[in-house]
Amino acid sequence: MNVTVNGQPRELPAGATVANVVDLLDVAPEARGVAVALDGEVVTRSRWPATELREGALVEVVAAIGGG
């Protein structure tokens, strides 16, 4: 299954979830300051394990940075 994570193409096994993607990025599940959007919609943290990706999914994993 081909998806896009933070702008980069990734190949993931069928059935991969948002939680798998977060894990791939080396983020602890309880890490503060991290959020995920799937196809332009927010996926709340509690739903990361249950939310499966579809072919072509657009995943954005964002984190806190300094900002004005």
């Binding site: 933070n6 503060r32 959020a35 995920v36 984190a63 806190a64 300094g66 004005g68």
Partner: protein
């Protein structure tokens, strides 16, 4: 107004009237020191794609400093982007507060009035506590207040420009009409700009680049903190009117006659 009144935004109170923007610091150590010198209680942060190479979260720095986080939607050019970003921020930071930015031009980073109002209205409807970064247009500020924003954050001049308050007239009109706190956001370049904002009657000042990009950020943080206090105090102290002519500070009566020609 009492000078020692806390700043009230929505249901919260803050002892400090300087909000620190955390962008532009060369490293976390400088941020930590500026944070301390600024005595800020609220610091803005942004969201960007997670960088696996980056170690040490800015959140640890801010937690250690004991400040709270105010997420922003910096970089968003449409209401939709800003709304989604606000929802991401709610997830990431577990706060309903959002500093709403919807930019209309990438050279001046000025807000887009139409998209900003649309985003503000939607976010208020979604239960957010919305603090919008806006132009110095009084009618736009009122619209933002009317759709339920808990504060308005007009600019003095473009973000990072350091040009101070280009149109104090507009800021003062916004202050006259607003029933929510007015926080000067963007444009402060140095301490006197912050003092002037508070003298005009602003409830607080937000500074990022003026501090983070100063040669010595901690010193500038302290300078601007003192200036905010100075301006607030001066506002409360009731300044003398501007006069066209002089008014002697030394009494004019009782001058001695030192002309010897009358003597002897």
């Amino acid at each position: 107004m009492s000078v020692s009144d806390p700043l009230r935004i929505a249901n919260r109170e803050f002892g400090s009237r300087l909000i620190l923007g955390t962008g532009g610091f060369a490293n976390h150590e400088l941020l930590a020191r500026a944070c301390e010198e600024s005595r800020a209680e609220l610091c803005t942060v942004a969201l960007r794609r997670l960088d696996p190479a980056s170690r040490g979260s800015i959140l640890d720095v801010l937690q250690a400093a004991g400040v709270e986080v105010l997420p922003n939607t910096a970089g968003c050019f449409t209401a939709r982007d800003a709304v989604v970003t606000a929802h991401l921020a709610r997830e990431a930071f577990e706060t309903d507060w959002i500093k709403l930015e919807v930019i209309g031009d990438d050279r001046t980073l000025l807000p887009d009035a139409v998209e900003l109002v649309a985003a503000a209205e939607e976010l208020v409807g979604d239960g957010f506590v919305v603090l919008p970064y806006t132009t110095d247009d009084p009618v736009l500020a009122r619209r933002l207040e009317d759709v339920g924003c808990v504060a308005v954050m007009p600019l003095g001049s473009p973000i990072g420009s350091g040009m101070g308050i280009r149109n104090p007239y507009n800021i003062s009109i916004i202050l006259e009409q607003s029933e929510v706190p007015v926080i000067l956001d963007a444009g402060v370049g140095t301490a006197s700009d912050a003092a002037l904002a508070m003298e005009l009657g602003c409830d607080a000042v937000l500074c990022a680049s003026a501090i983070s990009r100063a040669h010595d950020p901690a010193a500038m943080a302290r300078a601007i903190r003192l200036a905010v206090d100075a301006g607030r105090l001066a506002r409360g102290a009731g300044r003398i009117p501007r006069r066209r002519y002089a008014q002697a500070s030394t009494p004019e009566a009782g001058m001695a006659d030192l002309d010897a020609s009358l003597g002897a």
